[in-house]
């Protein structure tokens, strides 16, 4: 740990540029996975056999492929098929797709936890499927889904480091680059770990807060 503070001051600006990309990747893939996850979940509970089977198989395919392979596929294979993505685009797309499977299962569990009587009450006042979802089911499912959603946010933040494998210069990759050029492994990776932790702690506190509120209801 020799000269840790000295190194910290020196490397901080470079690592911060990595932090920015880490945040961009995390937020981007979080949004994408939420939207996709909602779509899969709605297809799954739609009551239309073809849609629900399609969604179930999609989820299984996505779940069965490691994130890193998905990223390689998007970044290295897609250009052969005529679709060229920047590293950042591929990272957000890959992580977003990978996480959409977990999001979908989480959302589905939330939707299916709603009492059938709620759906019947909605139907009995003439609501169709979509109105029932929007006005009755989803607003109640949100409360059930929120605590696990917070955990997904934390996992997403950490898994965004996998974007380094396709050259996105986020925090982990910046750390690795500095470490390999200065050989100050201990100081650099301690800083990287502390910076991830610093970003996680607000999320952890948020999850705890949300769980407490959900518990009260």
């Amino acid at each position: 740990m020799k000269g840790f503070w000295h190194d910290a001051v020196e490397f901080f600006p470079i690592l911060m540029s990595g932090v920015v990309l880490t945040i961009v990747v995390t937020i981007g893939s979080l949004l994408l996975s939420t939207v996709l996850g909602l779509v899969w979940a709605m297809m799954r509970v739609s009551g239309i056999k073809a849609l629900s089977m399609l969604s179930a198989s999609l989820i299984n395919v996505i779940r069965g492929i490691p994130i890193i392979v998905l990223l390689f596929y998007l970044y290295f294979v897609m250009p052969d098929l005529g679709v060229t993505l920047s590293a950042l685009q591929a990272a957000i797309l890959g992580l977003g797709i990978a996480y959409s499977a977990y999001q979908a299962e989480n959302f589905r569990a939330g939707i299916e936890a709603i009492d059938k009587g709620q759906i019947e009450a909605a139907q009995s006042i003439g609501m169709g499927w979509w109105l029932t979802m929007r006005r009755v089911v989803l607003p109640q499912a949100v409360r059930i889904v929120l605590p696990p959603y917070g955990n997904v946010m934390i996992m997403m933040l950490k898994d965004s480091s996998q974007a380094s494998t396709i050259t996105v210069a986020e925090l982990a990759l910046q750390g690795k680059l500095i470490a390999s050029s200065t050989f100050k492994n201990t100081n650099v990776f301690t800083m990287v770990a502390l910076m991830y932790l610093t970003m996680s702690i607000p999320l952890i506190l948020l999850v705890r807060h949300v769980e407490k509120r959900a518990g009260k209801k």
Binding site: G117, Q118, A121, I125, G126, L131, R143
Partner: protein, 243 residues
């Protein structure tokens, strides 16, 4: 107004309705009684399409009830339902529960819907609870909100599925009182109930159902005081004199 013709319904191997034929006239109050598992609730749930039926035909004001057709929304806006377990929306206030249908299904103007919603809450004696959430209310209050929610759709008939069975005994009276007032105002009602006193005093007609068929039916007082069929006699004896 509500017509059932030879309605059959099975859950898997279990045939719960074995040919139900019945009419409900406009303004009539019909109570459906019978042992549990006899198919009483299933009849109600078929009338507004919460449940499909296998054979026969159900129509409301000449409109065929088919839960897979888009016309089912028309049926449901004309025939409201009150559930045993209230099924109020817990994430909305009492007033929001009442105006949900008028606002989002019938697309009524907000001001008018809210005004009528408040009037309906006053009618069921809960004007001061408009801004409370359902879980804060007693069962009896929740059921009266559910009745207001049903009325808000301005239905031609209301189906009650054991509306007092989930209530503490001392709260039953309030709900039955509201229902009696509705009956006096000429609302068409089909009530599945174990409240024989209510059936005797308020109903025009009583159907006794057992094993998926209508065993006996007739004017309320006559059927409850002098049942003809041995199964009706047996059932009423057990309900009225359980010891």
């Amino acid at each position: 107004m509500i017509e059932l013709k030879d309605v059959h319904k099975s859950f898997g191997q279990n045939e719960v309705l074995k040919g139900i034929t019945a009419n409900v006239e406009k303004g009539e109050v019909v109570c459906v009684i019978g042992p549990s598992g006899s198919g009483k609730s299933t009849i109600l749930r078929c009338i507004n399409g919460l449940e499909s039926y296998d054979r026969g035909e159900i129509s409301v004001e000449g409109l065929k009830v088919d839960r897979d057709a888009s016309s089912i929304v028309n049926v449901r806006t004309q025939v409201s339902m009150v559930f045993q377990r209230f099924n109020l929306f817990p994430h909305r206030t009492v007033l929001e529960n009442v105006v949900e249908g008028p606002l989002y299904v019938k697309k009524e103007a907000r001001v008018r819907a809210l005004e009528r919603g408040r009037a309906l809450l006053a009618q069921v004696g809960l004007a001061e609870k408009a801004d409370a959430h359902p879980p804060q209310l007693s069962g009896g209050q929740q059921q009266r909100v559910a009745i207001a929610r049903a009325l808000a759709m301005q239905p031609k008939a209301i189906l009650f599925d054991e509306p007092t069975s989930a209530l503490d005994p001392e709260l039953v009276g309030d709900v039955l009182g509201v229902m009696r007032k509705l009956a006096d105002d000429g609302m068409t009602m089909v009530v599945v109930t174990h409240e024989m006193g209510f059936a005797r005093d308020v109903a025009d007609r009583v159907l006794f159902i057992d094993g998926g068929v209508i065993v006996e039916q007739g004017p309320a007082k006559a059927l409850l005081n002098q049942p003809q069929h041995p199964r009706t006699q047996d059932f009423l004896r057990r309900v009225l004199h359980p010891l």
